[in-house]
Symmetry: C2
Subunit: 326 residues, 2 copies
């Protein structure tokens, strides 16, 4: 737990941040937080470490950094179908910048309140800008959406319009800013303010057989499901959802597809649905007002295949986004 | 959760690290860990962020870094009287150094196994060396040792021989290494391999009124208890436990006292005991084979006073260790 001056700093910006919850007996300010998990539920826990220049461009506004640091973790809970509850925050800051901290705390708090998440602990130290966030959520015993339960014959779905965040990244790294209403401005907002699909994840319990969130790109993240579920898949190239902004920013349908397959940072959900539950997915898309695209099918044969409009199988080359490459 | 190459790296060194626990349904490898808290207990959660050069000297062996990263967090659980269970680990590494990772994982694992802690999740990224650790433990409802429950009249105790870690730090920062059996070698081991007082913390439930672990130094950490319990204290200067190694390394009794009061990083427990429970403390010290020193008394009058052998009250100046000063 944070101490003395850092502690005062945390207290000012982060005390009572987020939702007030009855299951928090003791929050920030002692050696540990004291929490009361609901009886009969499992605890879902995820942690992410975010570095400036690696997980978000250096010029990202503090408010967006605060939002994104929590969003990527809520997205992990969403991918398990868990209901968010508590979060802890570790901050390494090059300096005690009150203005930056205020923006960060506001971005973090707005999303926390939206999902009724309480900040229950943290630590702040001086160092290179780095953010460590850990979330805790609840899910009924046996109801979690795991990566290893997909089966051949299941349909493969993806939510929203993946690829837009990755399309914005190279422009942002060159310091470009889009004009009002431009494709770059639209895609930039998706990079800075990803929407964790918490409601969708929750609704998919009992409907989907497996799920994962798109942090490394569709190709790489689908690979995790296929590997852990011991099956393969064929993606329908024509069914990949390409937004007009994605095509505009990447310059062509071909480039848009590559960006969608290889690019990360979207935090949409990729999920598998047994045929008997597919009708439920159509209904869910309407209820959540969120496009859910059927993009392929799981098969017994291992490996990933891409099928074009001509029925031909194309290569499935292309790696995922890699935080250790450059 | 970690993905692709980092994921492979984590898997190799960190999969199934620490104890195997029946309450871990799903550990490292999915979007979240799935855990089953024991019914009727509270969850105690603490997180710490450790940076090279700030929380441990740059020349600290990887094995010691792994030990210390977990130890400082277990120490927070100890200070609450909680029983350790699960841990998550975030690692920012300048390079994928297999040798360093192996040493780190071994140091971390040895302590985790000793306390039956399972590693359930993590994230690894490339960046400046930084370590984020979060521990989860259990404590019966209402039994946790909080900072805000000390009362005037309680006796003040400290475990072990605090000050030794802080005495070693300036020497280590100058690159000095002690010879075999030297005071520096002894104190260096206390800096690199602090012992979290988990057994003591557990035994103090129902005995101590309040507790804190010494991370910022006795003066600063006692200040947290006094502030949150709304009382003051008088420390008996002659009662402060000065080890022969501490006196040898600092050069005088006076310097040893200052180091003990101001220096941090000891992770001994400072705790308050109502008079009716003091006999129990003597018994505990024998059972745990751990010296527990009575160093002062809590009083209604706010502030901290130091009383010398002459009965005179000395100034209580001297701040705590501050991760933001330098």
């Amino acid at each position: 737990m944070a101490q003395s001056p850092e502690f005062a700093l945390i207290q000012r910006h982060f005390a009572r941040l987020g939702a007030a919850r009855r299951d928090v007996t003791l929050g920030v300010g002692d050696d540990c937080a004291l929490l009361t998990p609901p009886p009969g539920q499992q605890l879902a826990v995820s942690m992410d470490l975010l570095l400036a220049g690696r997980h978000f461009p250096h010029d990202t506004p503090a408010h967006a950094v605060g939002h994104k640091a929590l969003a990527v973790n809520l997205s992990d809970l969403a991918a398990m179908g868990a209901e968010p509850a508590w979060v802890t925050l570790g901050l390494s800051l090059p300096e005690v910048d009150d203005h930056w901290l205020e923006g960060f705390a506001k971005g973090f708090a707005a999303l926390a309140e939206q999902h009724e998440v309480a900040l229950v602990g943290g630590d702040t130290v001086r160092g290179p800008l780095a953010i460590s966030v850990q979330v805790h959520g609840f899910v009924e015993l046996g109801a979690a959406l795991r990566r290893d339960r997909a089966r051949p014959g299941d349909a493969l779905y993806v939510s929203g319009w993946p690829g837009e965040a990755a399309a914005a990244l190279p422009h942002r790294l060159r310091g470009e800013r889009g004009g009002a209403g431009s494709a770059l401005t639209h895609c930039s907002a998706r990079l800075d303010y990803p929407t964790p699909r918490v409601g969708l994840g929750h609704a998919l319990r009992g409907v989907a057989s497996a799920a994962i969130d798109l942090s490394d790109g569709l190709h790489g993240d689908l690979g995790h499901i296929l590997e852990q579920s011991h099956c393969g898949a064929t993606l329908e190239l024509e069914a990949l959802p390409l937004s007009t902004q994605l095509i505009a920013l990447t310059g062509s349908v071909e480039a848009a597809r590559t960006t969608l397959l290889r690019g990360g940072d979207d935090y949409e959900l990729l999920f598998c649905v047994p045929p008997r539950n597919e009708e439920e997915v159509h209904w869910l898309a309407e209820r959540l007002r969120l496009p859910l695209h059927r993009i392929g099918t799981l098969e017994p044969q291992s490996g990933l295949r891409l099928r074009g409009a001509d029925g031909q199988i194309h290569s499935a080359e292309g790696g995922s986004f890699d935080h250790f490459s450059h």
